[in-house]
Symmetry: C2
Subunit: 156 residues, 2 copies
DNA sequence: AGGTTCCGTTTGTGACACTAACGTTAGTTA
DNA sequence: TAACTAACGTTAGTGTCACAAACGGAACCT
């Protein structure tokens, strides 16, 4: 629920620009997702970290940064938030005292499960106008875009 | 050219999430586009405004806001920048003294032409991994996504 | 004349990607 | 063993962007 009800037509020039469409679509999608997650007292990084921990087991913060794409500087705050909620535990690594080992707690796993559901519903809302095969098509195309450009930046 | 060369695999869970793919792709695309435009002393809003002016002729700032999706608060700065470069002229509307009428100058039109070229090249770079038909598919899917969700927010 | 709505503008906020620097620790090489 | 290099976690800060809130002025409507 935001504002101006009257939608004026934007120029065809702009409407067809794929890059514009892309950031516009991402913006709308992000908005829905962030709202939905906020409503569940979470942010998308929370999910990313928890999902990574489930797949990879306990890892260092730097490793989390690499796998999720969160900047190394920002991992700190995310872990703080998760640890503050008891979803994750931060402990110094005895084997390498530079590292912190991040471990998911039982509550963290439960949380991940519920976020899985929340996110699935949100995905469904975002992709509402597309059929199943079309959704696959879209993710396929996007994946190829991302993979192609990820090489130059290093983001996974 | 950013940083970390070693790309660690991100969890399959995350890689397949359409919403994540969408914002990731948009991020990479935006980065390329912004860099390219900055290199030409422009920003994407400059292009959006100039393109709108060419299609719609002289209009008020509020109208520009509606057509481009720029927030009404932010139009001011964009017009300042464009006017400062002599690409656009801001004049009070004699018919309605609340309004400013924004008119594209001759230089503005030239600028729009060159930005057209810059942007076409950037589009091509972003969509590099996709074939022609695939690009159409992508813009088609994205358009449907955007149109579907634009109704609820009001953005064009 | 009064109330409502639109206009342009200023100021501010919160989120996010990103940079820079520091102290600590590990590995590597001299 | 000593010195260099590189990775780690952390703090602080930058710039950008979408967005909100409030204002004075001007138009419209009754």
């Amino acid at each position: 629920m935001t504002h101006h009800g009257e939608v004026t037509r934007s120029p065809a020039r702009l409407r067809r620009l794929p890059t514009r469409l892309l950031s516009l679509a991402a913006m709308l999608s992000d908005r829905l997702v962030n709202e939905g997650l906020a409503h569940a007292d979470a942010r998308k990084w929370h999910y990313a970290v928890l999902a990574t921990l489930e797949e990879a087991g306990p890892v260092s913060q730097a490793e989390l940064s690499r796998r999720t794409g969160i900047y190394r500087s920002d991992v700190v705050a995310v872990i703080n938030e998760l640890a503050g909620r008891g979803l994750v535990e931060r402990a110094p690594d005895p084997a390498d005292r530079r590292r912190n080992v991040i471990t998911m707690t039982r509550q963290g796993l439960d949380r991940l499960r519920s976020l899985d559901a929340v996110l699935a519903a949100l995905e469904d809302e975002v992709l509402a106008p597309l059929t199943g095969p079309e959704r696959d098509q879209l993710t396929g195309l996007l994946t190829r875009l991302v993979d192609h450009h990820a090489g130059s930046t290093g983001c996974a």
